[in-house]
């Protein structure tokens, strides 16, 4: 049985999707993940955010095999 993947949402992304954690069945790469999320939460379309796979920012499409978590990170605004 494939392990579940946890998606963590923050800031305005969490606000848009109405929750801060989503469990998904295993997804093969970040492009596929984005497609699933945007279908389920159309409000994400046009929203600016980055992805971090197991806490590492990713810039291009990346495999998610074996990853435990993917975070949806809107632009940082600390300080």
């Amino acid at each position: 049985m494939a392990e579940k993947l946890i998606i963590k949402a923050f800031g305005m992304v969490a606000e848009e999707i109405g929750q801060s954690e989503i469990w998904l069945d295993s997804v093969s790469n970040t492009q596929e993940l984005l497609a699933i999320l945007k279908e389920r939460y159309p409000g994400l379309e046009g929203m600016k955010f980055s992805l971090a796979v197991d806490k590492e920012l990713v810039s291009e499409n990346q495999k998610i095999d074996g990853a435990r978590e993917v975070a949806l990170l809107p632009p940082f605004s600390g300080g």
């Binding site: 923050f10 971090a52 806490k55 940082f76 600390g78 300080g79």
Partner: protein, 148 residues
């Protein structure tokens, strides 16, 4: 004096008090090789937004990643400048207008390293830490803070 550094907690619940800053300064009086300290403090501004005036900022973070990232920044800045000490504190949760939400503190033998390192830390903290500020307005609406 070489020691292995590990990630430290940088988050403080709510505002950072002036007393905490004073204590932190006073703690350096025994480090008699220090000649200069540079401090940056971020304070919550009562900005006027379309739907009202900011009365507070509520900070959230991807905490584990933020601490890991803060650690990497810390190590890089220690490697780049001859510093004696470096401290970073960032608020978590609600901070009211006029209160302090960020405290960055560097110390070195000579002023130049402390000043440059402090300024670089502030830029990197704002750009690289997964932290978000939700600006709460007096109309009870909110807007998501944007860093410039």
């Amino acid at each position: 004096m070489d020691k292995v550094r590990t990630p430290k907690n940088i988050f403080v619940q709510g505002a950072i008090s002036p007393e905490k800053i004073a204590t932190s300064i006073a703690n350096h009086s025994t480090k008699t090789e220090i000649g200069g300290h540079s401090i940056f403090l971020g304070q919550v501004r009562a900005d006027q937004k379309e739907k009202g005036e900011v009365v507070a900022i509520e900070y959230t973070a991807y905490e584990e990643m933020a601490l890991q990232k803060a650690f990497e920044i810390r190590e890089a800045v220690f490697a780049k400048y001859p510093l004696t000490c470096m401290h970073i504190y960032h608020s978590f949760g609600e901070v009211k207008v006029g209160e302090i939400c960020l405290f960055v503190f560097t110390s070195s033998k000579h002023r130049k390293a402390a000043i440059e390192a402090c300024s670089e830390l502030v830029e990197r903290i704002k750009a690289e830490l997964p932290v978000w500020g939700k600006e709460i307005l007096d109309s009870e609406e909110h807007v998501w803070k944007k860093n410039s």
